[in-house]
Structures are given as structure tokens and as C-alpha cells.
């Protein structure tokens, strides 16, 4: 909400120290997010009258205007073809500065110009304007423009009962516009007067709204219009007033300037007045062309299904039946509290109007506004809650301004329907509660004083006070709301700073006791950089990974209102994000990469959504210095995974080669199991996926299910006795088919002997012509030990031979 200080000064005496005013508001919860200082001195800009207009000898689009200011005569080249002889206009003479641009005597297409005739925009008064600004006829010729603007008859004409003070500063025309970031609980401050009222409470000054005196004609509003509310629960008050014989035209500068300062575009005097009063008092109004209302009756009702209305913005709105409409006997005229219809809008043809001011319930305006996706200044205020008792003042204020600006005759009285009268709220206030919550020790008089400053009525009752907040403070309903008001007025800075007291809470046992920080730190220490990706991705990612259509990863969750298609699907795997991170880095010449991400993945089930926690890591390029170059292969990555599983106390897991993971190289992929539970997949990225992601280099990846790991991992470390007796080792080299997995042979070793065979390690593996193309040689070192005694050579030899024999039989290997 933009608040013009010049306007604010209509209702309250505002300190010259603008920054201090802003601070006062900010520290009371009306955050001033910015101040737009407008200081227009208009030096060397004077009031002049056009006395003659001649054609320019060298340009069709220019005119030569002779202008006079008292005794002085000037000849000015002007680009506005619409100026007329007799117009009173602002003339910028050499030396004037207009929006940083200095005016000089100059030749325009060969003709000397003594200065420049200015538009409102060129003067910095408004943001848009067409043509040279026309000043009031009675402006003093030769006077400085600043004097005319601050004291001209146009300003005095504002209102019979409302005088405008001259802007502060010498001769200049200055204003400061506050950008106030209002929280949704303070609709009472969505107006200049509301802000003045708040400032008064904060500073101990008074904010007054002048009394409104109307000159009413004998003809009544009732004679021309009737009102019926069909849905009284949605409209607590409807008031209509007729004004006849208005002349619809452009509003005077002062009103346009104030609208513009508030960020509202000026349209015509009738529409401008309704907007002006909305900005002034916070209560939206609407003006209908009386001639367009059929049957002389306004009906407030819900829309019919399939009913339509073309709104002021030119959009054809279709209704579902939920929306509250303002209608006549036959058709919709407006969407209640949101926007008027095109058909009944006030145009330059309009002479008789009906002013509407009403109280619509916040809920109905919210629902309709959301349904239609239509948010307006009016709906913004109704949604948050306008003053239920504010209708009368707002409609009369608008009538007063209209009569003054558009010259209409105000029909006497309003046509009013008030289905439910306003009920005053009564809230119990106990000052000890206030102290308990805030941690202060406030005097009861001080506390109640603040409440009174805010316009609340207090009645002493048994336990404390019955407090009635003013009608416009719709946010105050409970004792805690009163406590907040006291804290706000006293100032948060005056509340002391204290330590927590009370008992330490007991620590709760967690289901997910996995220490994610430990995992992350391990990965970083192992050389991986942590990346973070959005949880939503493009649905195409799964295609890029060639995930089959029946795969569980395809059970993705769609966002109904995504930012874009690229961010429309909750990720079911972390891999694409990591691959994209790799691709981006490779493109930027960072080709040596070790990356990891831990994060949630999301799947859609039959009746629920599930979330899983994953750790995904990749390795590509050579991350070691060139001097020590050694080929990175999948076993570097596998090593990290094994170390990590160790760290997480996972002991019983197996790697199983597999070729059925769509995004992995069919010959270089494996799954990691603990029993039947799949913990991870690991492998080299499939060459076509490398292409799909435009990676241009080999890449190794693993994807670990941290949730599954957490379910199967051990309790932690436990101590085992250190063996006393020595071990005995025996080596054996086996020649096996290339396709036989090591894990099979290892399993076979372990099954043969559990008690005395302490460990089996492989210490060499090779393939080569010398042993035949389809074969590989693996060398094992078996370690034997007994816990109770020293093993003899003979018994070890015997045991070893029988184990090797068994393994050879099972795996079809031969001993080398």
C-alpha cells in the first residue's frame, strides 16, 4: 500500500522528519519498505497563456506558439497539435530542470524556441499524460508553477469541507510516498485515513476525518432505485445513492496525482472518485450508469450456473453458481466486491449514476476472487475485511466529491438494506495474562491506556476488563490479540531479554536414527562434492534414463500448478539431478567430478504418497593429479560405497551382477542386497544415457536407499575377544570361466567351512592368452585359525585340500 504523506497530512499533523515517521510505523508492524521522495522545485517554470499559434515552416508536426506571461512575450516551438489559443500552460524557461534535463534556448528545425510548454509527465507530476498540461483559467500569469500547484483554485475546490495544506518546503512541490508492506491482518490500514488513525494511536496525536455535509435535492434515491438482498448471509449491508446530471470528464490534477501516488490509474471523475474514497477510507465503492439498470432494482444474489458477465477489463466471465453478483431484474451488473460489468459502467455518455457501497463478507469475496482468478483493489480489501460500520461515511464522502467534481445533484437519502445489524465484540482482558505471555510487569493503567489509544472501549469486570474494539479492527477477537496490541504500542524493544527457564525436555527416541550429517561428512571426506537439486524435475528425465513403463519409478507424483513443465514432477530418483549437475559442469570444463546428493524421492502409491531417502554418488574423469594418473574405474566408486556401508555398521550385504538396470551398462552393473532387501545399484552409466545427457565421457554411479540401509543395519559395534593363537595361511590360484562371478566362488568357500576358515581374500586376478581366452585366474589367500589352540600344519593341509576340492567341484574351476 502506497501512502502519500501530502495526502496523509489532510487528517493528521505529520512530523517533518519523514524517516522518523517511517520508523514509527515500521516498529509498530506497518513496515515501511521504501520511501519515494518526490521533490519538484519547478524553478524557472512559470504560468503562461497561449496568445497565438502559427504553423512551423519546416515541420508539419510542430507549431509555433506565442505565449505571454504578464508583460513578457515568448515564442515557443511546440509538438502538441491540440493546444488552443487561450490555454493557460506551464512554460519552462532556460535554466529550468525537468527530470534532470536542463532547458536551453535552442533552434527546432530552424526556428528559435524560447522555452518549452510542458506536459504533466515532463514535469514529473504524473507517470503518463497526453499533451501539454492545461492549468486552471484563473491561474496568475507569470507566477511560478509551484505556487499555482500548491495554492491554485483547483486544490481549493477539492471539497467544501476539506482543505488541503500547502506542501512543506519553500516554493517547491514535494511529497514522500511510503511503500507500506501491510500484513493481511490489518485491513483497517488499507487506506490513507486508516494509516492516519494508526499513526495517531502511536504518537498520541489526533486523526480527524472532516464532517461531511451534503446538499441533497428533493428527489429521493428511492424514487429511482430499489435494493433486494437474496443472500443476506453474504451481504451484511447494501447502500445505494442516486446522483443525477453528472458531467463525466477528466478529474482535476490533484485527484489524479493522489491516485497515481497510490498506484491507481485515473480514468474519469466518477470512477476516480470511487477509487479515491476507497484509498481514502478503505471502503470500496462502485458507480453504475443508472440508465443501464433495468427495472429500477438492484438484486444481490448468487450467480446462476452458466450465467456470464463481461467485466470492465473486457473479459467474459462464466459463473459456476457460487459467485455473489450484483444484478438488476434481468442480468448481472457486477461481481460483488470485485469488479463491475462493462455494460453498466460509467462512460462519457452517462448522466445519472447509482453509487454502491456495501459490506460483503470476506469469505464470499475470497471464494469468488479465487474461483475467477480475479484480484482487484476492491476484492483485496473485502477479503481482508472492511469496516462493517463504514458504509455510510464512504458513500456520503463519494457523493460529496462527485457533486463537487462532476456537478451532479445528490438525490436525498440512500436506499439501504441491512440484513443483520453489527454486533459489538466483548473480549475479556486480564493484565496478568498479558504479563505472563510477554514476560513483563506492566501496570494495568498503562496496558488499558494503550487499548484506549486504539479506540477501544473498556468496562471493568470481575477478573479484568470487558474490551470492545472499534468496528474497523476486524482482527481483534481474542485476549491474545489485545496482548499483541499492548506489546506493539509499548514497543517490542522495551520487552526484556531473558534466558529460558523451566525443565529440560527429555530426548525422544527417533525412528530414523541415521545420522545423515555423518553420511554427508563421510562422502565429502571421501572426495565427493555435495550438490542440491530441486525435488521436482521434468517428466522426460525417466525417458532419458530409459526407465521402462512398468517400472516403479514411473509412479511419479504430478504437481497440479507447477512453475513449468520442467519442474512439474516430483522426482522418483535422484539420478537425473546428479547427471544434470555433471553435464553442466562438464560443459563448463569441469570434467573431473565426484559428486553426491542426499535427498528425498517421492512415489505415488494406490492411496498414499511415499517418501524415501537416497544417497546417490557419481565419479567421472580423473580426480587425481596428472603426475599420479591411474585409471578411475568402477572399483574406486565401489570402494567408497563399501566404506560407507562399513561406517553404517552394515556387514551382511552382497553385490550381485545384473544387466537389467535400464540406465546402466548391461555388462557393468550390480545390485547390493542385504538378504532380500535391495540396498543399492551401482555401475557404469549406459552409453546411450551418457549420450542422452550429453556427458561425453564415461561415468560411474551408485544409488543407495538410506531408508533400507537404516532398517537392516546393525546395532553398532560390539567387542569380540582378540585371538590368542596364531593363524595359518594357504594360497590357491583357480582357473575359472570368465563368466563365473567371484561372489559365487567366495560363497562356495564360506559354505565349506565356517569354524576354522577365518577369512578368504583375493590377492590377484588376471586374464590373458596364456590361460585361454574364456578363462580367468583368481588367486585366493585363505586364513585358518582356531580360537582354542594352535592348528598343526597337517590338519590345516588336510582341511585346505578338502575345501579347495569342494570349491573346484562346485565351480568347475581347475587349480593352477
Amino acid at each position: 500500500m502506497k501512502i502519500s504523506i501530502e495526502w496523509l497530512s489532510d487528517y493528521i499533523e505529520v512530523s517533518d522528519d519523514i524517516a522518523k515517521v517511517a520508523h514509527t510505523l515500521t516498529m509498530a508492524g506497518l513496515e515501511v519498505e521504501g520511501i519515494d521522495y518526490r521533490d519538484l522545485s519547478f524553478e524557472n517554470v512559470i504560468v503562461a497563456r497561449i496568445s497565438a499559434i502559427d504553423a512551423h515552416p519546416n515541420a508539419d508536426k510542430l507549431r509555433i506558439c506565442s505565449v505571454n506571461a504578464q508583460d513578457e512575450q515568448y515564442s515557443v516551438v511546440c509538438g502538441d497539435l491540440k493546444v488552443n489559443i487561450g490555454d493557460i500552460v506551464p512554460l519552462a524557461l532556460p535554466g529550468a530542470k525537468l527530470s534532470g534535463h536542463k532547458i536551453k534556448k535552442s533552434k527546432l528545425r530552424g526556428v528559435e524556441s524560447d522555452g518549452m510548454l510542458c506536459s504533466e509527465k515532463e514535469l514529473g507530476l504524473t507517470e503518463e499524460s497526453s499533451g501539454v498540461m492545461i492549468l486552471p483559467d484563473d491561474s496568475l500569469l507569470g507566477a511560478s508553477l509551484a505556487d499555482v500547484l500548491t495554492s491554485s483554485s483547483s486544490q481549493i475546490k477539492i471539497a467544501d469541507s476539506c482543505t488541503v495544506k500547502k506542501a512543506q518546503g519553500s516554493g517547491g512541490y514535494s511529497d514522500s510516498i511510503f511503500e507500506v508492506g501491510l500484513t493481511p491482518n490489518r485491513p483497517d490500514c488499507l487506506s490513507v485515513f486508516g494509516t492516519a488513525r494508526e499513526l495517531a494511536a502511536l504518537t498520541g496525536k489526533k486523526a480527524d476525518f472532516p464532517e461531511i455535509i451534503l446538499k441533497e435535492s428533493p428527489r429521493t434515491s428511492e424514487a429511482d432505485i430499489a435494493v433486494e438482498i437474496k443472500d443476506p448471509s453474504l451481504c451484511g449491508h447494501y447502500s445505494a445513492r442516486v446522483i443525477k446530471g453528472v458531467k463525466v470528464e477528466r478529474s482535476p490534477l490533484w485527484i489524479r496525482k493522489r491516485l497515481e501516488a497510490a498506484g491507481v490509474r485515473a480514468i474519469n471523475n466518477v470512477v476516480d472518485v470511487t477509487n479515491y474514497v476507497m484509498l481514502e477510507l478503505g471502503h470500496p465503492l462502485h458507480a453504475f450508469d443508472l440508465g443501464r439498470i433495468e427495472g429500477g432494482k438492484i438484486v444481490v444474489r448468487k450467480a446462476g450456473e452458466m450465467e456470464t458477465l463481461k467485466t470492465l477489463d473486457g473479459v467474459e466471465r462464466k459463473f459456476t453458481g457460487e459467485e455473489l453478483l450484483i444484478c438488476d431484474n434481468r442480468k448481472p451488473l457486477a461481481i460483488a466486491g470485485i469488479m463491475g460489468g462493462d455494460h453498466s459502467a460509467v462512460t462519457t455518455e452517462t448522466s445519472d449514476i447509482v453509487l454502491e457501497c456495501a459490506y460483503f463478507t470476506p469469505e464470499t469475496v475470497r471464494i469468488t476472487s479465487r474461483k475467477l482468478g480475479l484480484h482487484t483493489e476492491s476484492s483485496h480489501r473485502f477479503e481482508r475485511g472492511v469496516d462493517p460500520l463504514g458504509v455510510e461515511r464512504a458513500i456520503n464522502r463519494a457523493a460529496q466529491l462527485l457533486a463537487s467534481l462532476a456537478g451532479g445533484e445528490i438525490s436525498s437519502g440512500t436506499v439501504e438494506v441491512i440484513p443483520a445489524s453489527y454486533q459489538k465484540r466483548e473480549i475479556l482482558f486480564r493484565s496478568h495474562r498479558c504479563n505472563d505471555i510477554l514476560g513483563i510487569n506492566i501496570d494495568e493503567n498503562e496496558a488499558t491506556g494503550y487499548l484506549k489509544d486504539l479506540g477501544m472501549e473498556l468496562v471493568k469486570s470481575g477478573h479484568g476488563y470487558e474490551v470492545s474494539p472499534p468496528s474497523y479492527r476486524v482482527d481483534i477477537e481474542r485476549e491474545i490479540d489485545l496482548i499483541e496490541e499492548i506489546a506493539r504500542l509499548k514497543g517490542y524493544s522495551s520487552i526484556p531479554v531473558e534466558k529460558l527457564s523451566g525443565s529440560m525436555p527429555s530426548v525422544h527416541a527417533h525412528e530414523m536414527a541415521l545420522d545423515l550429517m555423518q553420511v554427508k561428512r563421510f562422502m565429502a571426506n571421501a572426495g565427493y562434492d555435495e550438490v542440491v537439486n530441486y525435488s521436482f524435475t521434468s517428466p522426460d528425465e525417466l525417458d532419458r534414463l530409459a526407465v521402462p513403463s512398468q517400472d516403479i519409478l514411473r509412479n511419479t507424483i504430478k504437481i497440479l500448478n507447477p512453475i513449468s513443465e520442467e519442474l512439474s514432477t516430483m522426482r522418483s530418483t535422484v539420478i537425473p539431478g546428479l547427471l544434470n549437475a555433471a553435464a553442466i559442469n562438464i560443459k563448463k570444463q569441469n570434467k573431473e567430478l565426484m559428486l553426491f546428493e542426499t535427498g528425498k524421492v517421492f512415489l505415488s502409491g494406490n492411496s498414499h504418497y511415499s517418501e524415501g531417502l537416497r544417497l546417490c554418488a557419481l565419479m567421472t574423469g580423473e580426480k587425481a593429479p596428472l603426475l599420479w594418473k591411474k585409471g578411475t574405474d568402477i572399483f574406486n566408486l565401489k570402494g567408497s560405497l563399501e566404506n560407507l556401508l562399513d561406517l553404517l555398521n552394515l556387514r551382511d550385504y552382497t553385490f550381485t551382477n545384473c544387466s537389467d538396470i535400464s540406465y546402466l551398462h548391461p555388462g557393468k552393473g550390480a545390485k547390493v542386497f542385504s538378504g532380500d532387501i535391495e540396498l543399492a545399484v551401482i555401475g557404469e552409466l549406459h552409453p546411450s544415457v551418457v549420450e542422452n545427457y550429453d556427458l561425453g565421457q564415461k561415468l560411474f554411479i551408485f544409488d543407495l536407499d538410506l531408508g533400507a540401509v537404516n532398517k537392516v543395519r546393525g546395532e553398532g559395534k560390539s567387542f569380540k575377544d582378540i585371538p590368542v593363537y596364531p593363524f595359518v595361511e594357504r594360497d590357491v590360484a583357480l582357473l575359472v570361466d570368465k563368466n563365473v562371478d567371484l561372489s559365487k566362488i567366495m560363497e562356495s568357500f564360506r559354505q565349506k567351512e565356517r569354524k576354522l576358515l577365518e577369512s578368504v581374500e583375493i590377492f590377484d586376478q588376471f586374464e590373458g592368452e596364456s590361460i585361454g581366452e574364456a578363462k580367468k585366474s583368481i588367486a585366493f589367500r585363505l586364513r585358518y585359525r582356531c580360537f582354542e589352540r594352535t592348528l598343526t600344519d597337517e590338519e590345516v593341509n588336510k582341511l585346505h585340500d578338502s575345501i579347495v576340492k569342494g570349491v573346484v567341484e562346485e565351480s568347475g574351476a581347475t587349480v593352477r
Binding site: 514476560g439 525422544h508 542440491v532
Partner: protein, 342 residues
């Protein structure tokens, strides 16, 4: 005669001592040893003259000769050991390695700044007795809004543009639902921290549709706004250093009342006013307030018995201020030249 012989033995000692010092190798030393102590050596030569002595004189010469032998053996072995050591040393010196070559390091990775800062924030609250709780990213309308006193169609919902998955399910817009879930599960006293990922339907230079938040809350009997100020003051001093000013100003959140926005003195300009703080000298870093009685009612706590406060902050924002990162979007671009700085 005897005296002459003894004198010559004594002279050998000096002679040998000098000769040994000249010996540059073990072979040379051996030559000298043979010259003195060998079968035909100088000591033997003297002993051969024993025949010319009387019976009384013979043992005295023997005694002197033995003493001389011991002496000589000792200096030879000393010199021998010295020569062996020198030789070894020389050999080792020839095995020179250039230790200015780079070490064979395990490459070190880095944690994402969001992780690091999140951890730092958490650590600041642990000494105050806070424990960490988590909740799902996919929330229901009830936990994300209703229970937090944000009814359907409430204008406060506009403060948080929500991603919806269905009528009832959405991506949490804050970590405050963890407040509700925790209060449903346990009874007071509670001191809880809830870090996590949150989502808002907003994407521009200063907003990303996903970011990270840490929410904290305390519930007990007699918890006050003054204590909220105390806890957050401690926190700000832990993260930004002692002496950083902070101020509390009124604001509005549906789930707290009174509510506050917490500003710290601009860490860039020290409060003088700059672009980052929009010339105000202050930076907004936290939202906070006393837990609204409606929230307590939603979880079945009696607001007349218990009070509490809650606060929430954006992790990226704090990371930006701490590290001087100017562009929010860098957090999600995953450029390793960014990541490896942390």
C-alpha cells in the same frame, strides 16, 4: 732394555692414533690394524724381543703389551664403527627423493553451503536443550495450514504460494507442520528444531521454488516473549558474532501471536546502509512469535496452562549473508567451482 721396549709400545699408541685418523676406508683401517697388531705387526716385533729380558722383567713387558693391544683394538673398532656409519650415511644420501613433488592425496570434497549452515544453526540450539525432529515434504492441508490457524481461503494463504498435488495434499510451504506433528506425538516441555526443505510457487531473482528452512519452537509452562528474545539473541550471536545488534518488530503470522520479524544489523555495511539492506541498516532474518492459542487447541494443549514460542528462518538467506553470496540461484546450479569453496 725393558724401558726401551715399553717406551716403543707407548709410542705405538700415538703413532696408531694418528694413522687411524688418516684412514678413509675400512680397507685402509684394516691395513693399519695389521701393521700394528698382525702376526708380523709392530707389537709382535716388540714381543719377539722378550728373550733378552730377565724373568722378573718379562711379565711387566707382557702387561704393557696387553694394555697396548687393548688400547689399539679399541681405537680401531671405534674408527671402524665411525667409517661404517659414514658409509651408510653416504649411501642413504644417494637415495634422494624430491619431496617438493606433490603428495598423493585423497581428493577432498565439500559439503553444500546449505548443509553447512543448517548444521551450524542446529548446533547453536543444541546447548539450549533442543532436539531435531523431521516431517514429510508432502503434507496435508491440515498440517500445513488448518492446524496452524490458516483456514481455507484465508488471505494468509496468499503469503505462501502453494504447490498442490491434489485437493488435500501439497508440498509443505514451511517446516511448521513439524510443530503440529511433534506436539501431537509428545507432551510438553518441548524444545524442538525442525530443519527441512520447503516449497513455494515462486521463481525469480530472489526466490527459488524450493529452499530450506529451520523452524524451532519451545512449549512449557510460563514461556514468555522475553525468553523468545533471549533465545534468538543467543542464536544470532552464535552465528554472526557477539555484538551484532538485533531488533524485533511487530508482524503477522497466523500461527503466532504476538508475532515478530527479527532484523539484525546489516552485516555488510555494519548498519550504515547499503544495497543489501536497502539503505535501512537492517536485514530481516527471522520470523517469530508466541504460539497462537488456536494452534495449541488444534493439538489438544490447554492454552491457559501452556505457552510457547516458535521461530523460523531461511537457510539460504543466512548462508548468503554469512558468506556474501549475492545470487540465490547459485545454490541450485551445482557448479563445482561454487561448491568447492565451502
Amino acid at each position: 732394555m725393558l724401558n726401551d721396549l715399553i717406551d716403543s709400545l707407548t709410542a705405538f699408541k700415538h703413532e696408531a692414533e694418528e694413522a687411524v685418523l688418516q684412514a678413509g676406508s675400512e680397507q685402509e683401517l684394516e691395513g693399519i690394524r695389521v701393521a700394528f697388531l698382525g702376526k708380523k705387526g709392530k707389537v709382535s716385533d716388540v714381543l719377539k724381543k722378550v728373550g733378552s729380558l730377565t724373568n722378573e722383567e718379562r711379565p711387566r713387558l707382557g702387561q704393557s703389551a696387553n694394555e697396548t693391544k687393548r688400547f689399539l683394538e679399541e681405537i680401531f673398532s671405534k674408527r671402524g664403527a665411525h667409517l661404517a656409519l659414514t658409509l651408510k650415511e653416504k649411501k642413504l644420501q644417494s637415495e634422494r627423493v624430491d619431496l617438493t613433488l606433490p603428495g598423493r592425496r585423497i581428493p577432498t570434497g565439500s559439503l553444500h553451503p546449505v548443509t553447512t549452515v543448517c548444521e551450524e544453526i542446529t548446533k547453536a540450539f543444541i546447548p539450549l536443550g533442543f532436539t531435531v525432529e523431521e516431517g514429510p515434504d508432502i503434507e496435508t492441508d491440515f498440517y500445513n495450514f488448518e492446524a496452524l490457524n490458516i483456514p481455507k481461503d484465508h488471505p494468509a494463504r496468499e503469503m505462501q504460494d502453494t504447490f498442490y498435488l491434489s485437493e488435500n495434499f501439497l508440498l509443505r510451504t514451511h517446516t511448521s507442520p513439524v510443530q503440529i506433528r511433534t506436539m501431537e506425538k509428545y507432551s510438553p516441555p518441548l524444545r524442538v528444531l525442525a530443519p527441512g526443505t520447503v516449497y513455494r510457487c515462486d521463481s525469480d531473482v530472489t526466490h527459488t521454488p524450493m529452499f530450506h528452512q529451520v523452524e524451532g519452537f519451545v512449549v512449557d509452562k510460563k514461556v514468555t516473549f522475553a525468553q523468545l528474545k533471549g533465545v534468538l539473541t543467543t542464536f544470532v550471536e552464535t552465528i554472526f558474532g557477539a555484538g551484532v545488534q538485533l531488533r524485533f518488530r511487530p508482524s503477522f503470522f497466523p500461527f503466532t501471536e504476538p508475532s515478530a520479524e527479527v532484523d539484525i544489523q546489516c552485516v555488510i555495511c555494519g548498519g550504515e546502509g547499503c544495497r543489501v539492506c536497502k539503505s535501512t541498516g537492517w536485514l530481516e532474518i527471522l520470523g517469530a512469535g508466541m504460539i497462537d492459542p488456536e494452534v495449541f487447541k488444534a493439538v489438544g494443549y490447554d492454552p491457559d496452562v501452556y505457552s510457547g514460542f516458535a521461530f523460523g528462518m531461511g537457510v539460504e538467506r543466512i548462508a548468503m549473508l554469512k558468506y556474501g553470496i549475492k545470487d540465490l540461484r547459485m545454490f541450485f546450479e551445482n557448479d563445482v567451482r561454487f561448491l568447492e569453496q565451502f
